[in-house]
Symmetry: C2
Subunit: 503 residues, 2 copies
């Protein structure tokens, strides 16, 4: 077998693998959106079976052999080709998936499942001491996992690599550390600002059917292709896909809040536009997908925040919103609406946080989980440490654990190293957006007349079509000419909020 | 490996096989109900892959070995056990699936796909001569298929066995031949009847949302468990399922017709009640499923016709319908509604035919396809033969091929031997229903107060829980004490229509 035969065999095999994964994704989508309640057991059996099958298919010895054959050939000679990138990323995934012993994976699944149950109870009672013993076990497991993976520097690097390949804790911390003081200062100044948006504009009755219609109009206008996708309603918004030509977004609409449903839509549509922009020919291979959560989040955040909370966006959509929601918006001005969409108020819960304070929620988690993995913070001391930092960063006292260190499921799931990707997403988003604005000086004017194709085209060309061809950090340098920096995000926020809040 | 080990290995293997088939069924359901239009190509790739995987899994040599091992053991000693029945039916399926050479299956798929395209064109132009050459090819293929399968008597037996295991063309023809003259006579007398139902009662504006609500109420009342199922809307009604605890029905609602949506619901709910009544422990094995389309249709037809068009059913539901559809039904009486639901009028199109004439549509097709397979009718003579019989049976002249022999897709698909199962379903339905009435003398009174659990319980006990344990004909004898006869269907119709039509 020639190396090219091996490469093609890999491609065929992994395309079938990807189609099987699509079946699982479809079953999960159905579970969230349509499945009758009583079908949970059968669905779990189906998904368990498919997880076993696809894992076996990906970790098959012949996959490793094909990768090796390609690595020993001209295919990887020029590291800048799509083929070389595919082999590089396949090696990474294959090694990681084959490094964990079967017994470890089973133990991890068991403890993670148990930990999540205990976490639900502990959160309900708002008592961290109930959860602490399980968190010790999870920490022990994740440390062992890091050993199996192997790493340089801190064990945290090995874990974060599951979500953000190639990122190192030192680099991430240095960007976060640069952002934090400026952001704490900005959030503090906003809290004392002379004027505040009237958020009642957004938090008043909005007919849910009309919200759905408005969200569909917005999604279609920014480029979401309803011929190759759909929008449904769920408890927890997400984006998924079942192969080329079928990308689905799910959001939720509240009868007394226009913001949640709309920003849920622009956020998930941002993820979807990324997925819709992949190279279909690469389906099943790394370059037909993306393995950096930070990059993925950069796309959802850009459409949600830089675009969807921007004045130019509302210049186009506000008159339409006024016609659809006559009672709510008849007497409201564009400026009032734009301000209301950009309210900043420190609050306890990350998933409800605004665009600015959100990053402080993430940094806090990153710092604590890094220290706890390294053993620099004892598990029992986490609530005090959480609350201390929270007060410093956000200026408010945490009243109870359920509003503090017990609010997220990530640690119970064993997903340590996941949190920073959210803030990385915001940072990449701002840096990419700044580059796009430079390349497209007419962008705001285009948005103002409902034309988002300039930005989408730029993203397609520079980011979407590459899939995992470039690691996030490398892509950032390639596209923006510079390493990831806190500068773009804080500049963007300062500019926006100083005007809105008069600070 | 002991025989019991082989049996258990079969069960485990086939349960996984069934879960994978469920993934396909879910993808097909999604395709009919939700999938964005542009996702067709990817979906076809997914379904093609899964069809290959599941076929390979079922026809695996080890499956044949396990079956043989069981056949050589005590497991099949008592032919009346579930285990023996499973092995009997698995042998049948395994042999059939392994008897067709791969090249033949591929050729069949290709010609069937082509024939369906040509059929669409021919039907559009209402020109049978366009379709005739493809039908010749399909006939040639189905004859070869019958040879691969092997058969006694006519080749038709081998083909019908795909849909109705164990039924023979001689038995089916003898029941149909007995039914036909009485039914032709009854339909003729109805056509000349002194009074006719006022069908405008049903064919007037009915709000579609309220129809959906009413249909859900009806389905839930007769026993459809919405905790383990759901009702959706589609172009062509169907029932499907994705393993124990997840059975879904799909129907369609018309804004100017209450009947279609409602009978679509009771029909598909009948299929669903059957599926919901299977033994979950047997999931993946023949006794956890059913392989006779006639039996399946007997359940859908019973709930659609014997129950859902019955006076007792409407005694309970009509007052509710009046409250939901005030404008349409405010001035209508229960008797008028009951009569309108039982309109009989000969018409061209099978899928739009009423309960009585439907059977004549089927017999006509059965007779023609049997003769055409045997070579007793030439393909070119089909339209004339069709129209001649149609006039004899239904009393009306066929005006064009698209209203006659070009209306159904079955022949283009190569599904020769399928049609009789529809009429067998009606015959079994009537015979089972007569037995149920005898066993449950209070049944009508129970229906009248909305209690359908007596009938459902009887069906569960006598029919549903057995799956494919008994062949349809054997189950009929076991449950009703007699072989399938035309008597019950014609008696039921005579009784009902003589009263409604005053004949």
């Amino acid at each position: 077998m020639s190396a090219m035969d091996a490469y093609n065999a890999l491609k065929t095999h992994l395309k079938e693998h990807a189609h099987l994964v699509s079946f699982s994704s479809l079953a999960e989508w159905d579970q969230e959106t349509r499945m009758p309640k009583g079908a949970g057991d059968t669905r779990a059996d189906m998904l368990g079976l498919m997880a076993r099958l696809t894992h076996k298919m990906f970790t098959d010895k012949k996959v490793g052999d094909w990768i090796s054959e390609c690595e020993d050939s001209d295919i990887v000679a020029n590291t800048d080709t799509i083929e070389a990138a595919n082999i590089r990323e396949l090696r990474r995934s294959y090694d990681r998936q084959t490094k964990l012993p079967k017994e470890f994976v089973e133990e991890e699944a068991k403890i993670s499942s148990k930990a999540q149950q205990v976490w639900v109870e502990a959160r309900k009672k708002s008592d961290f001491t109930l959860f602490a013993p399980m968190l010790e076990k999870v920490l022990d497991l994740t440390r062992r996992k890091a050993e199996y993976y192997g790493y340089e520097g801190e064990a945290y690097n090995a874990l974060m690599d599951d979500f953000e390949p190639g990122a190192t804790v030192t680099e991430v911390a240095s960007v976060f550390d640069a952002l934090r003081p400026d952001l704490v200062d900005l959030v503090g100044r906003i809290a004392d600002a002379p004027r505040r948006p009237d958020i009642k504009i957004i938090k008043q009755p909005y007919d849910v059917n009309r919200q759905r219609l408005f969200s569909e109009m917005v999604a279609a206008t920014i480029g979401f292709d309803f011929n190759h996708g759909r929008l449904d309603e769920v408890e927890h918004p997400f984006c998924t896909g079942f192969g080329p030509g079928d990308t689905r977004i799910c959001t939720r609409f509240y009868p007394n809040d226009l913001g949640e449903g709309l920003t849920g839509t622009t956020h998930e549509a941002g993820h979807a536009l990324y997925a819709m922009g992949h190279d279909d020919e690469q389906f099943g291979m790394p370059c037909g997908d993306v393995n950096s959560l930070g990059l993925h989040e950069s796309q959802s955040r850009m459409w949600e925040n830089q675009v969807g909370r921007g004045r130019a966006f509302w210049t186009y959509f506000f008159p339409q919103a006024q016609r659809i929601f006559r009672d709510a918006l008849g007497d409201v001005s564009l400026e009032q609406m734009y301000h209301a969409m950009n309210n900043v108020t420190p609050s306890y819960i990350r998933v409800e946080a605004d665009e600015a304070t959100y990053n402080l929620h993430i940094m806090l988690r990153f710092e604590i989980e890094r220290a706890m993995l390294a053993g620099d913070i004892k598990v029992k001391d986490i609530p005090a440490e959480w609350n201390r930092r929270f007060k410093n960063y956000l200026g408010i006292e945490v009243d109870k654990d359920s509003n503090g260190c017990l609010q997220d499921v990530h640690w119970a799931m064993g997903a340590i190293g996941y949190f920073p990707t959210y803030c990385l997403g915001n940072l990449y988003s701002a840096q990419f957006y700044a580059a796009a604005r430079k390349a497209l000086p007419q962008m705001d004017e285009q948005f103002g007349r409902g034309d988002f194709s300039g930005l989408l085209g730029w993203l397609r060309e520079n980011i979407h079509r590459h899939g995992a061809r470039y690691r996030a950090g490398d892509l950032c340098k390639k596209v923006t000419g510079a390493e990831l920096s806190h500068k773009h995000l804080i500049d963007y926020m300062k500019e926006k909020y100083s005007e809105i809040y008069g600070i």
